[in-house]
Amino acid sequence: MILGKPDAIRLAVACLLARGHLLFEDIPGVGKTMLSQALAQALGLQFRRVQFTSDLLPADILGASIFDRGKAAFVFHPGPVFAQVLLADEINRGTPKTQSALLEAMEEGRVTADGTTYPLPAPFFVIATQNPLTQIGTFPLPESQLDRFLMRLELGIPDRAAERAMLEGGDRREVLLAMSAAMDGEQLVSMQRLARCIHASPALLDYVQDLLAASRQLTRGLSPRAGLALLSAARAWALMQGRPMVIPEDVQAVGVAVMGHRLEHAEQGASGVEAAAHLLQSTPVV
């Protein structure tokens, strides 16, 4: 389906197992949207998609109350957010106001409109894609919202062989339609529950805390939520490796994806990915 990017796919699955939201960041045309759709399809989840533009309003995502003449009352019409997988395509093209509309949904799994709170369906993911900030006409995601994404993945240009295979293969849209679900929502929820039971020993927590402490020596370090995110992502990764406990390897495997976007402005002259990689390299692990 997606060729030459096994690591990115694994990380994306780990992110979903850790009940985290996912952010793809790359230039257009490397398969961000395709991967998101394929993920939803493979996990057998209900899928909705919102294309963010600068004139998109919060009500376009959350839904709106419309007066129903028959009932003579306002009736809430749920927006696309009421889905199991919400693909927020090109999220940085939306205005900050619209981006913020997703905050409550992402963090608490519910939506408040007109003073009424509506719960969202059980597994609820936001998969967002965005173009790099250097592109013209984009609004950077506020840091609070960036922090709510468990992982940020960069797909990058596929290598020559993978690209060749893609060129030789059929239409990707058709392949997508032909894909069958590998599991359903129930199974996914139980897998997520399993991931939370993976053992994290005190020694591993020490390592995670060392990482957090080391990051805080930079100008702007990781938040406590980032620590939780790192641990849950590492748990999911360990589950995928079929291991009953988390080891530092798992933390390192998900480290760049989890910490990269949180360390974007942490160090002058280095991108977040570089800062995260350096952090993993320099923090002693025993």
Partner: protein, 974 residues
């Protein structure tokens, strides 16, 4: 922070406290040698050993420190400039008491505790000259930890000219934004730009700033009593602020500060800005990188000055060392230490001086409001004068110590800075020495050791900073434990026997209990009230002495004055005893009493010459060539059998001299003892003893005082007396009856310590008896007290006074009395051992120890080599101990780290962030033969360390042990 990481070596150099310590050590050595006092030697060696090892600790303290200095931040208003830096400890242990100074900085920064992994950031303030900030060419990291006697330094050269950043300051309003020409800025990448011009969206509110257009103020909010806010439109970010250097007419430094402030404002409000400098134009932009670029460009316009190399060669002053320290805890520790050195001196040193010292501490603790320099001077003069006036003899050690106490008090009052506290601490060590030289019993020696540790802990806390009390105490203990081998080696091998080099220190003689050279009614009874130890005697060959032979002879009195006897003239040497007589050899350790006599078992025949200064005196006594001011030990041989022969004429006449004022009644009583002209002297003696026995004389400790005519009153009417009354009157009666006689003063009895195998003679065993000259037996001992009260020979004074069936005698048979007495003997044994092995360990004892070690014939030079080698080995041990990395608490991690060390030694070091699996995989490529083992180890290790249970540690251990041999078969790299 642009970092110049350099790792220069730590240098440790002596400072002024080192010289003070050296002087104190010499003084301690002098005191020890002058007194031949092993305990003082031990203390001096402890000080020397701890100071020596503190050199190593000082080195280790700074070893792992890493410094990064950042760019200079210049303040433009002439306040100076700041040098930010970051201090980090790379090691596994915290570093303590660090001062950071720069070659020409105005101030320094002090860090009490630098934990590993917790970097410390601070700034140094540097002066600014008209030609720019005075750049330091050197950062100095300095520490006096642990004891302050050595300065450890880390010099970090900053030869590179550092970038100077302007400090944002200034209060001019931001230039108003201008619309950018879209076509002109199309090529520039700016932040948040919308492609379509004029399509303004409301983008939020920001606090109102002067100069904002009134049209953009959120007036609705103002009407609701909210603060003034300015509306912002995303479209308005098509504007930019142009910061033009030539638009301002300030001086360069101030302009740079104002520009830096504007840049900060623009960043905070997300307003794109461009910078126009005389030689450079930076196009509009936003973001940290852009801001930094602009600030650096501004920095090039700041006045520049090269680092001053000369300043780095000048001495950098100790700012922390000489600035006031407000740590009550350290002061309290030091004062407590000083106060606790006083109890051993109690009774020896003037109480006035002690009170003055305590008062001085009190004054210091209450903020020292009365310590203007004049008041201090007055304190020293008044206190010194008072102590000087109270002392009779100013050349004694007691007087010197009292004066020292007054001066220490003055120092305590004026103590403000760490330097002062250090001096007080050293004086505390010195006071410990003074206490030990005045009082060396085991109790007080242990007390002094505790006080010594307390003062050391206070010194460590002074260097560590407040709030580190527990760690300081631990540091003092560990330093002491490490110094112990050095101390013992110095004690065993350091050359002694320097009597020729030093003069004995004089001691005050008053105030001690003990026998005096006069015998007056009541003089022995006074002494007998004390239960202090007079001396201990060890009989060679463990010969038991019969109770009637336990007479310890000290003084012989010749000058008769009725009931009072004086030393007088008349004594002479006795003939040697018959060659076949029994000789008892004793080692006697006498406590100081300030007089010249020495005790010996009746009667001394010969003294073995050693360094104690004891020699044979007249009348079979032993005397000392010096007053016995400190404990002495000597060996004497005694023979119970008196020497025979004839009495020389001068002695006979001296032994018959009677006072002129003897009453006729007493004279006739004496004459009545010679019943017939044919009666022998023996008969006269028997008759006199019979008289004492039959006339109802009573033996009592409280006979009341006798007046001038005491002899008549005692013999004829009152008939109550203590041993001095009986022996004095009996000897006088003998002289009146024509029998030569004299009085002997000494001790009777003593307590035998089964555990120690020696006799303990206390002051209450003091006794006086008589000797009469009989033609057949020579000078014969006659003890009228024992004739009257035979119990006195076998029991101690109290029991014999009370009688065999009294409550006191019965109480001696109870278990608690036995237990108490047993524990007292046990303690005395320890005390005696301490005295024998340490306090009195002189050159001879040192020789004996060396002989027992098989070094008996070694020359001193060789011994010094051994000593040096021993000290070096100890220092090396401590060095390695300090070098050790902290042990990992998890056994699995320890095993894994051992594998990593082994692989590093084999040439494959692990990177800090490399996990077990990654490292094992990498190492397996280098050692294909060990690949399976390595992978197994990494798996087991992950299970043991990160798994839910720790059951796999044994498998890991086996796998690690299995690895050892396989690593050797390394394949060469392709």
């Amino acid at each position: 922070m642009s970092a110049a990481r350099q790792q220069p070596r730590v240098t440790v150099r002596p400072n002024r406290h080192t010289f003070a310590l050296g002087a104190a050590l010499v003084a301690m050595w002098y005191a020890a040698a002058a007194q031949a006092n092993g305990a003082v030697y031990l203390l001096a060696f402890a000080c020397a050993g701890m100071a020596m090892l503190s050199w190593l600790h000082a080195r280790a303290n700074l070893r792992d420190i890493e410094v990064q200095a950042g760019d200079l931040i210049a303040e433009t208003r002439g306040k100076g400039c700041r040098l930010p830096f970051r201090l980090n400890s790379k090691g596994t242990r915290a570093a303590s008491g660090i001062e950071i100074a720069a070659a020409n900085a105005r101030s320094s920064v002090f860090v009490a505790q630098l934990e590993p992994g917790a970097p410390f950031r601070a700034e140094l303030i540097l002066p600014t000259t008209p030609s720019g900030p005075a750049q330091p060419s050197l950062l100095l990291i300095r520490s006096l930890y642990p004891l302050g006697f050595f300065t450890a330094e880390l010099r970090l050269p900053l030869s590179r000219t550092r970038k100077t950043m302007p400090l944002p300051e200034g209060d001019l309003p931001l230039p108003s934004p201008v619309k950018t020409d879209a076509s002109k800025s199309a090529g520039t990448v700016s932040f948040g730009r919308r492609g379509v011009a004029g399509n303004d969206d409301f983008a939020g509110l920001r606090p109102w700033q002067p100069g904002d257009s009134p049209r953009h103020i959120d007036w609705k909010a103002v009407a609701r009593d909210r603060p003034m806010m300015t509306k912002q439109w995303s479209g308005s970010q098509d504007t930019e602020v142009i910061l033009d250097w030539n638009s301002l007419t300030l001086d360069d430094a101030e302009k740079a500060g104002q520009f830096a402030k504007w840049i900060q404002d623009c960043e905070a409000n997300a307003i794109p800005f461009s910078l126009v400098l005389p030689a450079l134009k930076i196009p509009a932009g936003l973001g940290p990188a852009h801001a930094r670029r602009c600030l650096e460009a501004l920095g090039t316009l700041m006045p520049h000055r090269l680092p001053d190399e000369r300043a780095s060669r000048q001495r950098i002053p100790f700012v922390h060392e000489t600035s006031a320290l407000s740590s009550k805890g350290t002061l309290a520790g030091l004062c407590a230490g000083l106060a606790l050195t006083l109890p051993p001196m109690f009774g020896e040193v003037s109480v006035i001086a002690m009170i003055l010292l305590i008062v001085a501490m009190g004054v210091r603790f209450h903020g020292g409001r009365w310590c203007a320099p004049l008041a201090r001077l007055a304190y020293v003069l008044l206190g010194g004068g008072l102590v000087f006036a109270m002392e009779n003899d100013h050349r004694t050690m007691e007087a010197a110590t009292a004066l020292l106490l007054v001066f220490i008090g003055a120092k305590v009052i004026e103590s403000r800075t760490p330097r002062d506290f250090q001096v007080v601490g050293l004086l505390g060590w010195f006071l410990c020495m003074c206490g030990l030289s005045l009082e060396q019993s085991l109790v007080w020696s242990l007390h002094t050791a505790g006080v010594f540790l307390l003062i050391t802990a206070a010194l460590a806390r002074l260097r560590r900073g407040p709030g580190q009390t527990k760690k300081s105490v631990r540091a003092a203990f560990s330093l002491m434990a490490q110094a112990l081998p050095v101390m013992v080696m110095l004690f065993l091998f350091f050359p002694r026997g320097n009597e020729d080099l030093v003069a004995r220190l004089a001691r005050r003689n008053s105030g001690r209990s003990g026998l005096t050279t006069n015998l007056d009614p009541g003089s022995i009874a006074t002494v007998a009230l004390s239960d202090k130890i007079a001396f201990r005697a060890q009989i060679s060959g463990d010969q038991r002495i019969a109770p009637r032979d336990r007479y310890w002879r000290c003084l012989v009195l010749w000058n008769c004055n009725g009931l009072s006897w004086r030393r007088g003239a008349g004594g002479g040497r006795s003939k040697p005893p018959p060659p076949d007589s029994k000789i008892v050899r004793q080692t006697i350790a006498v406590e100081p009493h300030g007089s010249y006599w020495l005790p010996s078992l009746d009667r001394a025949v010969a003294v073995e010459p050693n360094g104690s200064g004891a020699f044979m005196g007249d009348d079979d006594t032993v005397v000392c060539n010096d007053s016995v001011d400190n404990a002495r030990r000597f060996v004497v041989a005694s023979s119970p059998v008196p020497a025979r022969g004839s009495l020389p004429g001068t002695q006979r006449s001296a032994a018959l001299r009677v006072p002129a004022d003897v009453s006729e009644r007493v004279a006739s009583l004496a004459r009545s003892f010679r019943k017939s002209p044919a009666s022998t002297d023996q008969d006269v003696m028997t008759a006199a003893l019979d008289y004492l026995r039959e006339q109802g004389f009573k033996y009592t400790l409280e006979p009341g005082s006798y007046e001038a005519n005491g002899l008549d009153e005692f013999l004829l009417s009152r008939r109550l007396g203590f041993c001095e009354h009986f022996s004095a009157s009996f000897a006088t009666l003998m002289r009146l009856a024509g029998v030569p006689s004299r009085v002997v003063v000494g001790y009777l009895g003593g307590e035998y310590s089964e555990r120690g195998g020696y006799w303990i003679v206390r002051q209450y065993d003091a006794h006086a008896w008589t000797e009469v000259w009989l033609e057949e037996t020579g000078w014969t001992r006659v003890d009228p007290t024992a004739e009257l009260n035979p119990d006195r020979l076998t029991s101690d004074l109290e029991t014999s006074l009370a009688g065999a069936d009294s409550a006191q005698a019965l109480s001696r048979r109870t278990w608690w009395w036995r237990a108490w007495s047993e524990s007292r003997l046990l303690w005395d044994k320890l005390d005696y051992e301490w005295y024998n092995r340490v306090v009195s360990a002189d050159e001879q004892a040192q020789m004996d120890t060396l002989s027992s070690l098989g070094l008996g014939r070694t020359k001193w030079a060789a011994l010094l080599v051994i000593l040096g080698a021993g000290v070096v080995i100890t220092a090396l041990g401590v060095f390695l101990w300090l070098k050790r990395t902290a042990r990992h608490p998890d056994p699995a991690a320890r095993l894994w780290l051992s594998v990593c060390r082994r692989l590093a030694k084999a040439g494959v070091p692990r990177q800090p962030g490399e996990t077990a699996t990654a490292f094992a995989t990498r190492a397996a490529k280098e050692f294909p033969s060990a690949a399976v083992g390595l992978m197994r180890i990494s798996e087991r290790y992950n299970e043991a360390r990160y798994g839910a249970t720790h059951q796999n540690i044994n498998e890991l251990r086996l796998a690690v042990e299995d690895l050892g041999s396989r690593l050797k078969a390394r394949l060469p790299l392709a």
